[in-house]
Amino acid sequence: MNLGFEVDPCAKCEEQLQPYLDRELTDAERAEAEEHLDNCSYCRKRYRFEEELRRFVRQAAVEEMPPALKQKLADLRTPLY
């Protein structure tokens, strides 16, 4: 259906950024986003930045479990008779 206006492809690509990186797009949506990214350096740079940012946030936010806590959790197991 012709609505009389075109959807801005970069705005649409921006909307798809999060589900794209979360691997939650359908194959067709993903292919559409990738086709746009192949041809649009504006969006491509922003997607790559977002990907890098996600990786960094994930790394920065991870704190490993203290070994003493691991032992405390193991001690909560039901005793064997």
Binding site: E14, E52, F56, A61
Partner: protein
Amino acid sequence: MGETTPEAEPRKLAEEARDRVRFEEEALELADQVYRVARRLVSTREEAEDLMQETYSRAFRAWRSFQPGTNLRAWLLRILTNLNIDRGRRQQRSPDMQPLEEGDYFLYNKLEEAGREPNLEQERVDERLSQDDVVSALSAVPHDFRDVIVLVDIGDFSYADAAQILEIPIGTVMSRLHRGRRILKSQLAEQAVSA
């Protein structure tokens, strides 16, 4: 009535003990992953440790209600998020619902405006932001939004798993994730631009 032979009862008990030990071992193997999520759902390491102990204690008592073959990590995190809510954190102020109009390209655009166009060929995000920046930006995101970001981005759960863990519709997961990441990015933008 043939089931009530003298041997049947001890055998049943032995089978149950074996299943319980297996369950406890599998749950403990996942503790590192569960802790990573727990640590970012609460403010301090002490709170995370308490929450983990309460979670495992409850899980070990309720092990029979876990359905083998389903996602044990999600099951443990469901207990953990419920306990965290029960601890009364919801008495804190509700999420700031002021309009937040920035789009998903906001942080990039903000850096570009400040004359620091991120050029990933030459620089990396970690040269602009420190680990502390990320931790403090994340803790500034209101709880409802942060829970979803932590489950999806740190816990690596799908939208559907996060919906099950938090007992909210998948559409709510998506909208909270969307909004929460924008809040996170606007916090990071302040830190990156002022650095």
